[in-house]
Structures are given as C-alpha cells and as structure tokens.
C-alpha cells in the first residue's frame, strides 16, 4: 500500500502501509536461531568419516544403476574442472570426485562426502567450461551444506551424530537402518528431490563458488535457461527433482544483481570445452 495514494486517513494509511510492509519481512526462522546453534554445524572427525563412508555407499549404488561414460579424456577433464571449483569449497577436509554417467536424463547428483555425478545429456547441453563448472559448483554446494545428510530421517533426525552412530553400529538392526538410509538418499536424488530451499541455496552458493574460482558467475543461469528453453523430455527429471525453472532463474537474477556479479567479464572457455568434450 502506498500512503500517497491511500484514500483513508493519513495515520491509518501509514499504519496499514507499515503493517503490510512488515508482513513481507523475514520469517521468524531466519532471525530466531541463536549463535550457539553454530555449534550444531561443528563436525567431529567421526562425523566427517561417517559422511564420507555413507556417501561412498550411495555413490556405489548410483554406479550400480548407471554406467559411467566410457571416455577417459572426458572423465579426466570433468574431474579436473570439478577439482578446480572444489578448491573454493567450504569443506577442505573432503576429497571430491567427479564422474560422468551414461543416462537419458539431464541431471547431476551429489552424494554425501564429495561424490559428484553429471549425466552425459547434461554435458551435451553445455556451451562452455563455465557452465560445466556451474553445474558442478551447484552439486559441490549440496555437499558443503550436507543437504542429503540433513534430509535423512535417521532416528527421527538427520543429524550428523545420528549418521556416525549408524556407521559405527554392527548389529543387524543397524545394518537394516543403514540400508534404508542409503535407499532414502537414492530416493531423494532420483525421485523426491531436496527441499526447495536447499536447491535455491545450492544455486546461490554455486554462483559464489564460480566467481571465487574465476568462472563467469552467470553461467548457471545461462545453462538453466537453455535447459528450460530446450523443451525436450530430457529435462523432465531435472524439473521433477528441482524447483521450477522460473523460480530458480528469478532467484539467480536477484542474487547476481544484489551481489554485483552481473556484467563481469569472467572467462567462459567455450573453445577449450568443445575441444575436450567433443572428440
């Protein structure tokens, strides 16, 4: 409501305007958490090891579902680009691995602990190296933020402590729960998707990772726009496990503008990308 065009009394108009503008303020979940909750983010060596071990099992299950691309040069190139971006990750304690999968779908996946996969059709839709780096950065951000670990329903919580207990257990019950957790992670990756907020967070952090690494921070926005415009069935899975394209594109536009990341003449490296991915 604009007080200048309001036909009620000035005081009432101003009050309503303040009230309505207030209603658009940040939700309580954003400002209520206290500083002590940063400790919940603190990971012990056992937590980290559990995350890596769990991610390795999830990655093995993914490779059990899909073949890898039989092209060592492309695999090496993708891994090299991924390692470059991962150097700016918030999780220096993790070793990241990047692998191209044979699939009909346009998508990319990140298992906990640093295991990142991208499908061949997703690679085929890219125009330059910055777009490849952008997609990998988005997946690295999922690992950074432990989105999968948090989404797991282990002992009524998705805590890292719960995962460590699960990995350390030797009983039959623990093994059953562990298998269920792996299935749940695969379900999140291939069917349900992560929370919308997690995906938007990964987009945002991915753009920062790109800029930190020296790639064009608008690369993900260009790539998503192209996937959206392609209008083929190939991106059906990506649509099913991620927020709508218009939501992601609008959020990226806002972020790039707010953080001054538009109009930067950062490298895209189209020629090198073509040389390395199109033999």
């Amino acid at each position: 409501m604009d007080p200048r065009t309001c036909t009620l009394s000035p005081a009432l108009c101003l009050s309503l305007a303040l009230l309505l503008s207030a209603c658009a303020s940040a939700p309580p979940d954003d400002y209520r958490p206290r500083l002590s909750q940063q400790l919940e983010e603190t990971l012990t060596p056992a937590d980290i090891q559990a995350e890596v071990d769990f991610g390795r099992h999830v990655a093995a299950s993914i490779l059990g579902r899909m073949d890898g691309l039989d092209n060592d040069a492309v695999q090496r190139y993708v891994n090299l680009v991924g390692q470059t971006v991962a150097r700016a990750s918030r999780r220096p304690e993790l070793d990241f691995y990047f692998y191209v999968l044979e699939s009909d779908q346009v998508n990319a996946y990140a298992a906990p602990g640093g295991y990142v996969f991208i499908t061949r059709p997703a690679l085929a839709l890219m125009r330059d190296e910055s777009e490849l780096a952008a997609v990998l950065a988005h997946e690295i951000a999922h690992v950074d933020q432990r989105h999968i670990v948090r989404a797991l329903d282990i002992g009524a919580t998705g805590s890292d402590a719960g995962l460590a207990q699960l990995m350390g257990g030797a009983s039959e019950t623990t093994r059953v729960v562990f298998d269920q957790a792996v299935d749940q992670a695969l379900s999140i990756l291939f069917e349900k998707g992560l929370e919308r907020q997690d995906e938007l967070e990964a987009d945002a952090q991915g753009a920062i990772l790109l800029a930190s690494t020296g790639y064009d921070p608008g690369a993900l926005r260009r790539y998503l726009d192209r996937v959206h415009e392609s209008g083929t069935d190939q991106h059906a899975e990506l649509s099913g496990t991620h927020p709508p394209f218009d939501v992601r594109l609008a959020a990226l536009d806002r972020q790039l503008h707010d953080e001054g990341l538009t109009g930067l003449d950062y490298p895209r490296l189209a020629e090198r990308f073509r040389d390395r991915t199109q033999p």
Partner: protein, 424 residues
C-alpha cells in the same frame, strides 16, 4: 465476619489478641517463581520468545519456532528466603522467618509431530516454605513468649501443550495443565505471663486443590527481527479441601481451660470444600532479535482481581486486587559456546495498601528482582547456572484486630538455579 487465616491468641489486656497466619505468602503476589531455563535468566520476559519447552509455560505458540525437533530442559533451584517484621513485640522485638528449599523448578520436553509441535511440562510456579522459631523473654507483662511456625505452600502445574504455525507471521498454541496446590500451616505459641499464668495456642490449616489451568497463546511476527507474544490463562479449581483446627488453652483465675478459636467450645477440625478463585493472567511480550548474538525482550503481566470465597460468615479465601507487573530480559552470546543473560522483574502485591484504623488487612509488599545466568553450549546440549535475587519492603498487620498496629516488613529472596537442556 472472620477469616480462618486469623488465629486468636488472646488474654484480656495482652498485646497479642489476634495473630494473622501467613504474614507473607506468595498468595499475596501473582508473580512468584520464575520458571524455565533461558526464561529464568531473563527474569521471565519470555512470552515473545518461548521457542523451547519453557514456552509451554509462557506462551505455547512459541514452540513452533523451536530450533530443534526434540528438546528437553530441566531446571532445579535452591532457594533461600528471609522475611523480617520490625518491632513486632513490645515495640522492639523483630520477627524473622526463613526457609531453604530445593525446588524442581521446571521440566519440559517437546517434539515435532507432523505439522505440530507438541510438548509436556512440569513446573512449580509457586512455592513457599517458612519457618519461625523464636523465643522472647521479659517484656511488658510477658515473662516468656515462644512462637513456632511451619508453613508450606506449593503449586504444581503439569500437562501437555500443542502449537501450530498458521503462516510465517502467526502461530497459535494451547497448554492444558493439571493444577495441584497443597498448603499446610502449623503454628504453636506459648506465653507465660509475669503472674505465672499460661496461654498456649495451636493452629493447623491445610488446603489441597485440584484443577486445570488452560493457557492459550499467540505469536505474531509483525516486522523483521521482532516478535510479539500474547498468552491468556486462568487456574480453575475443580475441587478443594480445607481442614482447619484451632485450640487455645490457658490457666488463670476464673478463665482456665481450653476453647476453640476463641469460642467456648471443644476444639474440632472444621472442613471446607469451597474453592479458591484465581485471577485471569494476560501476558504480553515483545522481543527483538537484532542479530544471532543479542536478544532483548519485555513482558507485561496483567492479572485481574479475584473475588473472595466465603462460607457463611467465614472467609475461606480472601479477595485479590488486579496487578500489573513487568519483566525485562536480555541475552547475549559472546561466543557460540557461551551466553549470559540478565533481567529485572516486579512482583507487585495483589492486596490493597494497609491503612491505620482498619483490621484484618493482608500484607502489602511490592517486590523487585534481578536475575542473571551463564550458559555453556555444546553441539547438542547446554548447562546453565544462574542467580535470582529479589527484595521488597512493605507493611503487614500480624495482629489483625489491632487496627492501629502494622509492622514494617522486608522480604529477601535469593535462589541459585542449575539447568540442563538437550537437543536431539
């Protein structure tokens, strides 16, 4: 009309005709024990915060903003209380009542169940334990005067609560507590006069109440980093049982023997089933969360008045006046591992100010208190240690039928509390 809380200790011409029983009880204040973990450190300014199990007590709507799916909190306090009445006997001898008690201040748990937050809490919102053992000699016409008083008054609340987030700005919650209160008082007084006559009085009073205390809470986030809370509750007594017995025995020329509460009858236990009326409590609070390290909050706590409960010509529970109290609190984290809290609160008397010329007046003492606490956090838990201190000055009329005699009264309360909280 007489009150069962006034007890006769009489002898013609003696200075102590009537003794008021609970000279300072927390029934004369609506704000008593401050319960909760963080809430205690913040002096109870918690209605707009309430985002942990203590919200079940202050404002159940706040539970929807709990930052973990499962939280439990437990608080225990060690309380010392001292009440001093100036110049009670012969214009020069003070009375002093003290108590030390270990209280289960609060225990609460909460969980996420679908779209709801549910919880269970047990709290002790009011507890008094008083002891007086004093002996005075050779004043006025008295050779020896001994008073022994023991009194306990504890109120327990126990029950479930539920909260639901209507949208990003509004939440609603409900707590339904079971109310149990037990009051027990025993007074013995012995007087030997200079003429070798004796007078002895014994009074016993016990009340047990059962009831419910529903609390409805609302939480509104009207602006960025600001929350406003509102909660309304009232204790409704469903059944009450009061036993009262008073006996006086004396020796002397022409008036030897025993009677009941000043009446010429054999002492007997009287039973009353009349219920006490409790005020409606309306708590409003505002909290400001400028950053993750700082939190400031303020509460206004309004209690309506409550009518007296009478049985024929006997006042079983006396009338209470409306009160308005405030609490201000702050919380500051200087690292993620340590937080300090502080606050100030009032506990105003729900009785009228005393006036000379009137009889049987309840004590009127306004109290102000300070709280502070220090918490240490780990990833899943916290431990807290804190102190609460309060002091009040006012007047009492210990001998209810002496209309021109009131006593300056000072109450001091110091509590040390320990609490733990676990998130999982």
């Amino acid at each position: 009309m007489r009150s069962i809380r006034r007890h006769r200790l009489t002898r013609v011409g003696f200075v102590l005709p009537l003794l008021a029983l609970p000279a300072l009880a927390d029934e004369y204040h609506n704000v008593n024990q401050i319960v909760g973990d963080r809430a205690l450190g913040m002096a109870g300014a918690y209605t707009a915060v309430s985002d942990d199990p203590a919200g079940l007590y202050y404002n159940p709507a706040g539970l929807v903003y709990a930052t973990a799916d499962n939280i439990s909190a437990s608080v225990n306090s060690l309380q010392y209380r001292q009440i001093q009445y100036d110049d009670v006997l012969d214009g020069q001898y003070d009375w002093e009542r003290t108590s030390t008690q270990l209280l289960p201040n609060f225990f609460g748990v909460m969980q996420t169940v679908g779209p709801f937050k549910v919880g269970l809490s047990s709290s002790t919102p009011d507890s008094v334990s008083e002891n007086q053992d004093q002996q005075f000699e050779d004043f006025g016409s008295v050779d020896r005067y001994i008073i022994n008083l023991n009194r306990e008054d504890v109120r327990y609340n126990f029950g479930p609560g539920i909260a639901y987030e209507l949208n990003e700005q509004f939440a609603i919650g409900l707590t339904l507590n079971y109310h149990y209160r037990v009051f027990e008082s025993n007074i013995n007084q012995y007087v030997r006069f200079n003429d070798d006559t004796l007078e002895w009085l014994n009074t016993y009073l016990e009340t047990k109440e059962h009831g419910v205390r529903p609390k409805l809470g609302f939480m509104w986030s009207p602006a960025d980093k600001v929350a406003i809370g509102l909660s309304i509750d009232q204790t409704l007594v469903l059944s009450s049982n009061t036993h009262y017995q008073s006996a006086r025995c004396r020796t002397g020329t022409g008036s030897s023997g025993c009677d009941a509460d000043g009446e010429e009858a054999v002492p007997e236990i009287q039973t009353f089933n009349d219920v006490r009326l409790y005020p409606v409590q309306v708590r409003t609070g505002i909290a400001w969360f400028p950053n993750p390290a700082l939190l400031l909050s303020a509460d206004m706590i309004f209690h309506t008045g409550a009518g007296a409960t009478e049985n024929d010509d006997i006042i079983v529970f006396s009338e209470r006046e409306p009160t308005l109290d405030v609490a201000l609190g702050a919380e500051y984290y200087w690292t993620p591992r340590y937080a300090v809290r502080g606050g100030v609160f009032t506990a105003n008397a729900n009785t009228p100010e005393l006036e000379l010329g009137k009889t049987f007046q309840d004590p009127h003492i306004d109290i102000i208190g300070l709280t502070t606490s220090l918490s240490r956090f780990t990833r899943d838990s916290s431990i807290t240690m804190g102190v609460m201190a309060s002091r009040g000055e006012g007047e009492s009329q210990l001998f209810g039928d002496l209309k021109n005699l009131v006593q300056d009264t000072t109450v001091m309360d110091v509590s040390v509390f320990l609490s733990t909280s676990y998130r999982y």
